[in-house]
Amino acid sequence: MAATQLQPRLLASLGYWVDKDRSGVISDNELQQALSNGYRLSDQFHDILIRKFDRQGRGQIAFDDFIQGCIVLQRLTDIFRRYDTDQDGWIQVSYEQYLSMVFSIV
C-alpha cells in the first residue's frame, strides 16, 4: 500500500466541503475527516496537526490557517515523494539535503 498519496483533490474541495456545518471555522472533527480523505495518518499525528493548525487556541481552526496547513502538508508530501524513488514510503537524506528540502516549505 502506498504510504503517501498526492491529493490535488484536497485543495480543490476546501471550504464548501470541509466546513460542513458552515460555521466559518473548521472543527477538530472536520479536520480529521478532511485529512483522512487523502492522508493516511495516525491519530497522534491528527492531534499534533490540530494543535499546530489551531493558532488561536480555541479548539477550532480558522479557515486561512487550515489552508496554510494543507499547503504545507501537500508541499512536504510532494518533496518526500520526489526523493522516494522506489515509492516504499522511506527516504534517506543527508543533513544538508533535509535542510534544503524543508526550509523553503516550513
Binding site: S42, T77, Q92, S94, E96, L99, F103, S104, V106
Partner: protein, 214 residues
C-alpha cells in the same frame, strides 16, 4: 566522527571546535540543553531571578506561557532592544523549538533556555548590524549562520537566506526565526541520526510530523 554540517549550539560562537562532539556544551557558556539542570535544582531560588519576574507576570495558573504570553513577556523584558519586538509567529516557533511534549506552551526552564539562546543570537546580529539599521544583508546572514557553527554549502545557505529576505535585507525578527528553525530542524534531524552518520532514513509520517511541528 565529525557531524557534517552540524553546528549552531547557541552561545558557542567563537572558537567552535571542528568535529566537536554533538551535545557537549562548552564549559563557561550557556546552561545545558537538557531539562532538569544540575543536582539541587529544586533548591534554586527563583525569587532572586529577574527572568522569573518577567515570566510569572504573564504565565497562567499552569506556570506556562503560550505564544501570546511569550510575546508579551519578551516585549516587556526589552530583549529586542532597539529592534522591533518579536512577531507572534516567531514566538510560536520559539515555543515549538523547545516543545518536546507538543503542549504548545513553554515552562520556566525552557524559557531560560530560550532566553540564553536569544541573547547569543542577538549579540551575533548586533556584531554584524554595525549601523543599527535593524537589518543585515544576505551575505551577512550567511556569515552569521557560519559563525554559529553550521557548515553548509552555498546552495543550502542561499535557500535559507532567501526564505527570510525582504527586498534583499533580513530583519532582526526574521533572523531570530531563522536561528530558531535551523536549531529546531537540526535537533530533529540529530535525534533521528542515532549513529551520527550525517544521514537519516525517514518514513513518511515521521518526516511530516517532525518537520511540521517546527
Amino acid at each position: 566522527m565529525a557531524y557534517p554540517g552540524f553546528g549552531g549550539w547557541f552561545g558557542n560562537f567563537s572558537g567552535q571546535i571542528p568535529g566537536m562532539q554533538v551535545g557537549q556544551p562548552v564549559p563557561g557558556t550557556c546552561p545545558p540543553l537538557l531539562a532538569g539542570g544540575p543536582p539541587g535544582y529544586a533548591a534554586y531560588s527563583h525569587s532572586s531571578d529577574p527572568m522569573w519576574t518577567y515570566f510569572t507576570a504573564v504565565a497562567g495558573q499552569d506556570g506556562e506561557v503560550d505564544a501570546e504570553e511569550l510575546q508579551m513577556c519578551l516585549t516587556q523584558s526589552g530583549i529586542s532592544g532597539t529592534y522591533s519586538p518579536f512577531s507572534l509567529e516567531t514566538c510560536r516557533i520559539m515555543i515549538a523549538m523547545l516543545d518536546r511534549d507538543y503542549t504548545g506552551k513553554m515552562g520556566f526552564s525552557e524559557f531560560k533556555e530560550l532566553w540564553a539562546a536569544l541573547n547569543a543570537w542577538k549579540q551575533n546580529f548586533m556584531a554584524i548590524d554595525e549601523d543599527r539599521s535593524g537589518t543585515v544583508e544576505h551575505h551577512e546572514l550567511s556569515q552569521a549562520i557560519a559563525v554559529m557553527g553550521y557548515r553548509l554549502s552555498p546552495q543550502t545557505l542561499h535557500a535559507i537566506v532567501k526564505r527570510y529576505s525582504k527586498n534583499g535585507r533580513i530583519f532582526f525578527d526574521d533572523y531570530v526565526a531563522c536561528c530558531v528553525k535551523l536549531r529546531a530542524l537540526t535537533d530533529f534531524f540529530r535525534r533521528r541520526d542515532h549513529l551520527h552518520q550525517g544521514f537519516v532514513n525517514f518514513i513518511y509520517e515521521d518526516f511530516l510530523q517532525g518537520t511540521m511541528m517546527i
